[in-house]
């Protein structure tokens, strides 16, 4: 099956879900989510069956890269994330319904729920397309497909001030970053005369390239992408948006949106790094951004009391490690064991596993405990040993403790920094990792060592079957990849 059928299938699934929502009389609209989940499982299986075309003649292949294992890997990330987000969305149904209550008499009691399950599918299709985009036009269109779907999803709880506020903030800053990106694309087209990434790379590597204009273009694109990935100093929207958005969407944002930003960043920054005239200054800028992001993310996470805000700062911190990998390009002619692209792809895969696990635990708790405050995790081990253990695995991996996937993610980044002799980056990375140990393990300790709050609910917690299966699967992969990182590395060669 040709590889681009996958995106078409995902879009078609989304449309089918919308049509079912509109025209089929369903007692319980949660079955719409099941259509999506089953479809995504099939798409994930099909990822291993795709065929690359023999010839890449024709206009289509100017927009879609061919024979790209890394693109398939990123498509897999998109599909898995969406699958887990749908599982969370089903568990989150009561909260959604209470916040979009439809006052009209005669309306379905779950009116407005179906779209919440269909929107992630369109974002997923955009993410998958982006993984293969090799042209400024297709990068722009796929990125915006994702972003616009996210605008709606973040602001979905339309009776909830927090969600609307998050939606407006995300909208304004997202549109601002689009403005920078498009202006950067215009200049990139101007100095290279092409929309094709391969031709852009060739043009930038020529000795006669106008460095001032090229660096100006790079600055515009970097500002736009720093917004998307949440790198300092353009990270200010992240905590508010993560806190206000519905929890499944926060998970989607922190994994899907970040992966999207990094895919685009890899594609667009690599040509600049490959140009001998530009590499020095570009690396310097990336180093500064990485150091700032590592400091801001890790230090601001220390005093947080709200779990979603904590994960928001944690996501900024992880963006810092990823930019660090990007800034550690090997010196010309130097021998390296892994390229920054490999390290970033591995890190994103590990980050997906552990972040989704943390959010799955959180959505399971959400119906049971009052808030999202860290205090509500006190004594969780007594109430639900399973959830507490899942949380410990996730936190250990996020902190980078050995025998988890997160450990190898950080290890590879540090190794890359040593090989590129980026000593300043290495120091700040180690400071960040050390701070991470404190705020991640604080939660783990509070679950096992503290008693549950006296006035709080102390009943046992039930976890829905799909969420339980997803959590077990994620834990197994995190621990297996912690013994043998080749498990993930093998997926993209």
């Amino acid at each position: 099956m040709p590889v681009y059928y996958l995106e078409i299938i995902v879009v078609a699934l989304g449309l089918v879900m919308l049509m079912v929502d509109a025209f089929v009389k369903l007692e319980d609209k949660r079955s719409i989510a099941w259509i999506g989940m089953l479809g995504l499982v099939v798409v994930f299986a099909l990822l291993f069956k795709v065929k690359w075309p023999e010839s890449t003649e024709g206009a289509f292949w100017q927009f879609y890269s061919s024979g790209d294992k890394l693109a398939l890997y990123f498509k897999g990330i998109a599909v898995l994330t969406t699958l887990v987000v749908l599982i969370m969305a089903v568990d989150y149904t009561p909260t959604i319904l209470s916040q979009i209550a439809n006052p009209e008499p005669g309306a379905h009691r779950q009116a407005g729920l179906g779209e919440f399950f269909a929107l992630p599918m369109f974002a997923c299709a955009g993410l998958m397309w982006m993984a293969s985009a090799n042209n400024l036009v297709s990068i722009f269109v796929s990125l915006e497909t994702v972003t616009i779907a996210f605008y709606i999803m973040v602001a979905y709880l339309r009776r909830n001030v927090g969600s609307l506020e998050a939606g407006v903030k995300y909208l304004i800053l997202g549109a601002l970053s689009t403005g920078f990106l498009v202006y950067g694309f215009a200049w990139l087209f101007g100095i290279t005369g092409s929309m094709q990434l391969s031709e852009i790379a060739t043009a930038l590597a020529k000795p006669g390239v106008n460095t001032t204009m090229a660096l100006f273009t790079f600055a515009l694109i970097l500002v736009a992408l720093a917004f998307k990935i949440g790198a300092a100093p353009f990270h200010l929207w992240i905590p508010d948006v993560y806190q206000g958005a519905p929890t499944p969407i926060t998970a989607f944002l922190s994994v899907g949106s970040k992966a999207a930003g990094f895919i685009v960043m890899l594609r667009l920054v690599t040509p600049f790094l490959a140009s001998p005239a530009l590499v020095g200054k570009v690396t310097l800028v990336l180093t500064v951004v990485a150091i700032l992001t590592l400091l801001v993310g890790n230090l601001a996470a220390l005093p947080q009391k709200n779990f979603k805000r904590l994960l928001a700062y944690s996501s900024i911190a992880h963006a810092g490690f990823l930019v660090m990998a990007l800034a550690s390009s090997p010196p010309a002619g130097g021998k390296i064991s892994m390229t920054p692209v490999t390290v970033i792809a591995f890190y994103l895969g590990a980050y997906l596993l552990m972040t989704l696990l943390a959010f799955l635990v959180m959505t399971s708790l959400r119906t049971k405990i009052a808030g999202e405050e860290l205090d509500s995790f006190r004594g969780l081990a007594k109430r639900s040993p399973f959830l507490a253990f899942a949380m410990v695995v996730s936190m250990a991996s996020l902190a980078g403790i050995p025998l988890t996937a997160g450990f190898f993610g950080k290890l590879f980044v540090f190794k890359l920094a040593v090989e590129a002799q980026q000593w300043a980056l290495l120091v700040f990375g180690l400071i960040g990792a050390a701070a991470g140990f404190y705020y991640y393990l604080k939660i783990a300790a509070s679950m096992y060592l503290n008693e549950p709050a006296k006035d709080g609910d102390t009943s046992a917690i039930t976890v829905s079957a799909p969420a339980r299966i997803a959590m077990v699967a994620l834990m197994i992969v995190i621990i297996l990849a912690g013994f043998n990182p080749g498990l993930i590395l093998g997926l993209f060669g």
Binding site: A155, L164, E165, L176, G179, G193, Q243
Partner: protein
């Protein structure tokens, strides 16, 4: 004396447009006006694209790739406005304000 318009004239105008849009986003407090300024930034990018496309002549033809991206930008901007205005209207219904400084319920 007549002087021909060069690429730099267009780039200058589009740069000014972009700066006005960015300044508006940073300075203004009304969400609708901020949104208009964002559109101005996209318009600046469009003007830059057309200018580069027109002056980047290959084989006697302008490089039309830039103008193709422009149409995609216009379409995407329209979709963005449709969603964006809906969100702003929903916000106005709950908070009865479009002033960004009053949209600040989330703090540490």
């Amino acid at each position: 004396m007549e002087t021909a318009l060069t690429l730099n004239h267009f780039l200058f105008v589009s740069g000014v447009l972009f700066a006005i849009g960015l300044a508006g986003v940073l300075v203004r407090r009304n969400l609708i006006i901020i949104f208009m300024c964002l559109e101005l930034m996209l318009a600046a990018a469009n003007l830059t694209l057309v200018a580069f496309s027109r002056f980047n002549v290959q084989d006697g033809q302008p490089n039309y790739d830039g103008q193709v991206l422009l149409f995609f930008i216009i379409t995407v901007a329209a979709a963005e406005v449709a969603v964006g205005l809906a969100i702003i209207v929903a916000l106005f219904r709950t908070k009865e304000t479009t002033d960004v400084t009053k949209v600040n319920s989330m703090k540490y």
